[in-house]
Amino acid sequence: MAIEKGKLIDMYRTMVRIRVFEEKIAEDFAAGEIPGFVHLSAGQEANAAGMCANLRPDDIITSNHRGHGHIIAKAGNQYSLAPMVAELYGKKTGVNKGKAGSQHLSDLDIGVLVAEGIQGTALTLAGGAALAAKLKGTDQVVVGFIGDGTLNTGRFHEGMNMASAWKLPLICYCENNIWAESTNIYDVTNLTKLTDRAAAFNVPGVSVDGNDVMAVYEVAAEAVARARRGDGPTFIEGRTCRRFGHFQGDAHLYRSQEEKDECMKRDPIPRFRKKLIEMKVLTDKEADKIHQEVKAEMDKAVKFALESPFPDPEEVLTDVFAQGGKK
């Protein structure tokens, strides 16, 4: 599949935006600037970028605890990072007014319905959004991003079965970084191929190198086309790895040095950059410029967050209920 030049550059910029965002957040979290916990997706950027590059603005995704990358990718490169950073800092100007934080960062205005910390609900909610698309007769597609650990929840089984039985326009995108927190997926699952699970639901299951954005893009394009024409869900496994621990501050001592080294070597960003230069889509200089621009953008976003006020205490009581109803 020939991916057009503009799309390739966009995906590269998206991946750089995710990496720069995550590395800066890691630094600021370690410095005690960010409350709570953060789960970083550095190393997994190609999954979000390759998948979301196939989506329209009106398509929907649901995300999980490791969700920053999904949102940045779905939003597109024009969407400001500032309200996202402000949300992580717990500020009034945050995209969710300081009520979500890192784990629940979402914005339905750009098609990110929710980010769920209870595993599997990203998938069941995505199913509901896909059902709405079907009932309304739109051709929207919905992607539920889950991790490998979610494969063993009841929600995965129920959600996949429902999506398949009802032929919903859903893609279940499973980022397999092999670690469910500190537990190796293959220690608690008697499977060698995670895509075998898809067969149980009579859903196509495709495994792809999740650190190769062009490969992800191609697999995702096919799944989106299938969903869009009403042929039902697809299960995609993106084989990937995380550069940080489960949460920032986790020393991930449960991983061997070899595995961590291997993960660093599999870095999807230099790999894609090399490819783009070989393909003459970008020059070294142009690629460097993207990095510099994104760094400047992130610095500006952090400055915005730092200068923003915290929410007023009265805000505790707002947003529980929507006012009004169907007249």
């Binding site: 929907i60 649901t62 945050g94 995209v95 969710n96 007014k97 300081g98 009520k99 979500a100 629940h104 979402s106 914005d107 339905l108 205005d109 319905l113 929710v114 769920e116 209870i118 599997g120 609900t121 998938l123 069941t124 909610l125 995505a126 199913g127 509901g128 959004a129 896909a130 059902l131 709405a132 698309a133 009932l135 309304k136 919905v142 009841g154 929600r155 129920e158 959600g159 079965n161 429902m162 039985a165 009802w166 707002t318 947003d319 529980v320 209920f321 929507a322 006012q323 009004g324 109803g325 169907k326 007249k327």
Partner: protein, 325 residues
């Protein structure tokens, strides 16, 4: 005025709302063949078809997830979670997702979803099919709850629930369906606002707040006490969240005495909250201690004699009232 059954009132409410609003759809187990096991939705599959009246697998967690996802995207799902005990099966999806997400997104989403379940003992359905989860559901911020006890209230409250822009749990009582309770329901369209109690019987000596099936036992007890010269005011909260504090406190202001009758194990039941509200906000109005007539803190037994002993009844209520009047 015409009289219809409690069951017919439930069906009519859903039917009318599906007819007036194409975004309303229904999903649940056994909807297609039976219109749900008690027949609440009988005829709706034939009338509206399989897209809007959807049979589900036994997948309560996916059903709530699907309702939440569809609601956020502009639909008005009604999801039937059959027996109230099954709410515990999908409690995380109700408690952590459906009712919290609007808040956690900073109001970027809303969830106009209705969950309908039947509650209650009295039909020997044993320990896993008999609970009234009033108190349990009242602990969930972001959820509205209605528990209608008459055909009129059932129809009006279910219609309001479906039109509401927030998640609403409808808890109707299984025994009122089994007993074929009938009541006056106008032909003309009406709704009942959520959060408004109804004084089902006026009186001067004691206020009895009674929920669901217990309302009917309280009304029967009030008849008997009248013969003894005790005038009982019976308040039906109808909605448990938000609860109509004003009407309850207003009644206590008149009578100075409060008994709460609730078909739940006593600890952390709806009665606990109602008692706390009155103790906290209207202590000076009380001439006697608040009494609660509830079930014991045990699972619900099967055998009819055991179940009868477990459920609060008229005699229990009369005894409690007599102790404080």
């Amino acid at each position: 005025m015409r009289e219809i059954t409690y069951l017919q009132a439930i069906t009519e409410a859903v039917d009318e709302e599906m007819a007036r609003d194409p975004t309303v759809f229904l999903m649940g187990e056994d909807i297609r063949q039976w219109g749900a096991p008690l027949g609440e939705f009988k005829g709706l599959f034939e009338k509206y078809g399989g897209e809007r009246v959807r049979d589900t697998a036994i997948s309560e967690t996916a059903m709530i997830g699907a309702a939440a996802g569809a609601a956020a995207m502009g639909m008005r799902p009604i999801v039937h979670i059959m027996f109230s005990e099954f709410l515990a099966v999908c409690m995380s999806d109700i408690r952590n997702v459906l009712t919290k997400t609007r808040y956690m997104t900073g109001a970027k989403t809303k969830f106009p979803a209705t969950i309908m379940s039947y509650s209650g003992a009295g039909v020997s359905a044993a320990g896993e099919h008999s609970t009234c989860p009033y108190g349990l559901m009242m602990t969930i911020p972001g959820l509205k709850i209605v528990a209608p006890a008459t055909p009129y209230d059932a129809k009006g409250l279910i219609k309001s629930a479906i039109r509401e822009d927030n998640p609403v749990q409808v808890l109707y009582h299984i025994k009122l369906i089994f007993d074929r309770l009938t009541g006056e329901v106008p032909e003309k369209e009406y709704t009942i606002p959520i959060g408004k109690a109804d004084i089902k019987r006026e009186g001067n000596d004691v206020t009895v707040v009674a929920i669901g099936l217990m309302l009917h036992r309280a009304l029967a007890a009030a008849d008997k006490l009248k013969e003894k010269g005790i005038s009982v005011e019976v308040v039906d909260p109808r909605s448990l969240a938000p609860i109509d504090k004003q009407t309850i406190i207003g009644s206590v202001k008149k009578t100075g005495r409060l008994v709460i009758m609730d078909e739940e194990p006593k600890t952390e039941s709806a009665s606990s909250e109602i008692a706390a509200i009155v103790a906290e906000e209207a202590f000076d109005l009380l001439d006697a201690p608040i009494k609660r007539v509830c079930a014991p803190d045990t699972p619900i037994p099967f055998s009819p004699t055991l179940e009868k002993a477990w459920m609060p009844d008229e005699e229990d209520l009369i005894k409690a009232i007599t102790e404080i009047t």
